[in-house]
């Protein structure tokens, strides 16, 4: 197969075949990170700009390592160092960046759709590292990579997704991606965090946490944003943890070999108890490891690479 996408903007624009191809490529890339010399010359001479308008440590680091392991030159600019704070428009900022001839812009932005707009304004490749509450394709793909590694595939798997679906780009991208790959996705949250029409995106809404988790093959917990406490979305962390937290008793309702996932960073004792987070079902650190490989695959593919990474 030839991978012809210039940009990775969301999961919705990827076909089932393209997702499979990205995951296959990422598996090949993972081996590179396990070598003593973790670097291949594949993208030597390519420039990747990491343009993060919103604070992020983990995702930015993951993209940066991915670029470096492929020998690309990576440059990071953040909100404080970019002229956005001085009132420059996003369009002007990215067109200025493009004039310096990068090959790929990786961007994170607080506004939904920002990556879409930027992709229209510039000619180089754009990878969306999270835009508002819209999409976070590389996170969903690394989650899928982790599930595939552990479960062998997606067909018929029951995946439970618990947390603030309304404000989660990770949830949206996973719901679309996993349902496209054949998994059955069930979501659960207080009514304040379930957006209108979510069922039509390919999931069912469970009425409570126990129903949601029962017989699940994968339980994916979303980070609850503490600053939303008391903002009318939920009254207190204590009550949220009681109703929607993943603890050993609830996890016992899931399948015997269920995976516990979390995009991080964790709020221990709120959405996930320490025993579960550090327990044998958790693959949270594998997700992080796979993140680097998956992002290497994305860089490779949007740069025009169509052969399997092994051939390097």
């Amino acid at each position: 197969m030839r991978f012809t996408k210039k940009d990775i903007l969301d999961i919705d624009s990827l076909t089932r075949e393209e997702i499979t191809y990205i995951l296959d490529t990422a598996r090949g890339m993972k081996e590179i990170s396990q070598r003593a010399i973790k670097k291949v010359p594949t993208l030597r001479g390519k420039t990747i700009v990491l343009f993060f308008q919103e604070p992020s440590t983990r995702t930015k680091l993951s993209f940066e390592l991915a670029g470096k392991r492929l020998s690309a030159d990576t440059v990071a600019i953040s909100k404080s160092s970019s002229s956005i704070v001085k009132g420059e428009t996003l369009r002007d900022t990215v067109r200025t960046l493009e004039s310096m001839k990068p090959d790929i812009i990786v961007m994170r932005h607080s506004s939904s759709g920002a990556a879409y707009q930027v992709a229209k304004w510039v000619k180089c490749a754009v990878i969306n590292a999270g835009d508002g509450t819209h999409a976070h394709p590389s996170q969903a793909l690394l989650d899928m990579m982790t599930i595939q590694e552990e479960k062998g595939g997606f067909e018929g798997l029951k995946v439970s997704l618990v947390g603030d679906i309304s404000h989660s780009r990770v949830a949206r991208s996973n719901i679309i991606g996993l349902s496209r790959m054949g998994a059955r996705v069930t979501v659960c949250a207080p009514g304040t965090m379930i957006p209108m029409g979510i069922e039509q995106m390919g999931c069912t809404v469970a009425e409570d946490m126990d129903t949601c988790v029962t017989d699940a093959d994968v339980v994916m917990m979303l980070r609850i944003q503490k600053e939303r406490q008391g903002s009318l979305l939920f009254p207190s962390e204590r009550e949220y943890a009681a109703l929607y937290g993943l603890n050993p008793a609830r996890l016992a309702l899931a399948a015997k070999d269920a995976l516990v996932m979390h995009p991080g960073p964790l709020n221990r004792g709120v959405e996930i108890s320490t025993r579960v987070a550090d327990g044998e079902h958790a693959v949270i650190l594998d997700q992080v490891t796979n993140g680097v490989a998956l992002r290497m695959a994305l860089f490779y593919l949007v740069s025009g690479g169509t052969k399997h990474a092994d051939s390097n």
């Binding site: 506004s111 939904s112 759709g113 879409y116 707009q117």
Partner: protein, 432 residues
């Protein structure tokens, strides 16, 4: 200057429906008669403009009761001159301008300024609408009688809706005694909560914060209750939801003095039509669901919705070429309103007579003016060419605003001539 229109099909609901010759002199309709009855214009008079009315439809000058002209203060978006010329190009002979200028039209000086600026322009007329509260802050009533004397015919806080129910009650009572209507932009800002499009599946998919229908309808319901309490005249602006229409239908049946308008985009588009993050589809209230669109059309057909207004809201390109949630609300409408509304007739939702009622007669009734085509009346007239096909091209707009969701849309029907105060202020060039 005189104008003689020969053999035009006149549709003036309740007054004329048929072929007429019309003579206009000194700003007034001089004669309106059966074809062939008017004596020929004296050969000697050079300044008679003769229009062959064959194939055209003559209607009372169209009136748009909800327009943002941006002057004073935001002349980079639109000026009174460009806005009134854009109206003329759209076949509109009079516009009502909203008070959210800078400074706000909350005193007689600003009202007088707007009227004096408009006087310099040979295009549509302007009927200013004053603010309810000082600087639109929802705290203190303005000197409304003073503004009325200066030329306003209604008040509204439009985009800064009156939250305080007591202030609204007092506004209605006060305006009732002045016999002017209160225009309501029905929106509970707490329910809208900073949303940028309709709450529903498209917003959920795009990750854009939604504005629920209830943000509009709860305020419609509140102000119906206050209209009933006070007996004042309440007019609801740019209605977009099925629930609002339902509430207004029930209120009218009960005899409450309410009227309402919708805008062409609400009967033409839905939230599912928004191309990925295209900010030219962002306005407030937002494009709703198909169910709402159908309810708007039904409300127009059964008379619940009295009139069509554009909510013409020009913005500079910079204010739209930004992130969707940060883009300015609003689209231009003056130059597409007639074409889009005629589509309702083409598709059989409204008769041409009903459309003229909604675009010319009902607005005049609301404003307390008489725009009948009868001798002695001020000659404001729109001549429509029903058969002309054209494609919406923002670069050809007279308005400074280019922010339209209708770029590239094929429309049928447009104003051929716009006549205001007995002068031709717009002639459609044949190059279209």
């Amino acid at each position: 200057m005189q104008i003689q229109i020969k053999g035009v099909r006149v549709i003036d609901p309740g007054n004329i429906e048929g072929i007429r010759d019309i003579r206009i002199k000194d700003g007034l309709f001089e004669a309106v008669s059966e074809p062939g009855q008017l004596p020929d214009v004296a050969e000697a008079s050079q300044d008679v403009n003769v229009i062959d009315g064959q194939g055209l439809i003559g209607v009372p000058g169209l009136i748009d009761v909800h327009v943002h002209l941006r002057e004073p203060g935001q002349e980079y978006k639109e000026t009174i001159e460009t806005g009134l010329k854009a109206a003329a190009a759209g076949g509109i002979t009079a516009v009502c301008c909203m008070p959210n200028t800078n400074p706000v039209n909350d005193n007689a000086q600003v009202t007088a300024f707007i009227l004096s600026q408009a006087k310099k322009v040979h295009a549509a007329r302007v009927y200013p609408v004053g603010a309810i509260s000082a600087n639109l802050e929802g705290q203190k009533l303005n000197d409304i009688a003073d503004m009325k004397k200066a030329g306003i015919w209604a008040v509204t806080d439009d985009g800064m809706p009156v939250t305080d129910s007591q202030l609204m009650r007092r506004t209605l009572e006060y305006c009732k005694s002045l016999d002017i209507p209160v225009l309501v932009h029905a929106e509970d800002k707490r329910l809208a909560d900073g949303g940028a499009m309709n709450e529903g599946l498209p917003a959920t998919v795009m990750g854009i914060k939604g504005i629920p229908n209830a943000a509009e309808s709860v305020m419609v319901m509140r102000d119906i209750a206050l209209a009933e309490l006070t007996g004042a005249r309440v007019h609801f602006c740019h209605m977009s939801t099925a629930q609002s229409i339902e509430a207004i239908r029930a209120a009218k049946a009960k005899g409450v003095r309410v009227t309402c308008e919708t805008a062409p985009h609400y009967f033409t588009l839905t939230d599912a039509d928004i191309p990925a993050y295209d900010t030219n589809f962002k306005m407030n209230p937002p494009l709703r669901s198909d169910k709402d669109r159908a309810a708007i059309i039904e409300g127009l057909a059964d008379g619940t919705i009295d009139m069509i207004a554009t909510d013409h809201a020009p913005h500079a390109e910079d204010e739209k070429q930004v992130e969707f949630d940060q883009a300015a609300f609003g689209i231009v409408g003056l130059e597409t309103s007639l074409g889009l509304s005629l589509d309702l007739v083409t598709r059989g939702h409204l008769t041409l007579i009903q459309l003229v009622e909604k675009m010319a007669k009902a607005p005049a009734d609301l404003m307390g003016i008489n725009n009948d085509i009868v001798p002695g009346n001020r000659a404001d007239l729109t001549l429509i060419d029903m058969d002309t096909d054209w494609i919406v091209n923002p670069d050809a707009f007279v308005s400074k605003g280019r922010n339209t969701p209708f770029t590239g849309r094929s429309l049928k029907g447009a104003a051929a001539f716009t006549i205001v105060d007995g002068r031709i202020v717009y002639t459609r060039s044949s190059s279209f």
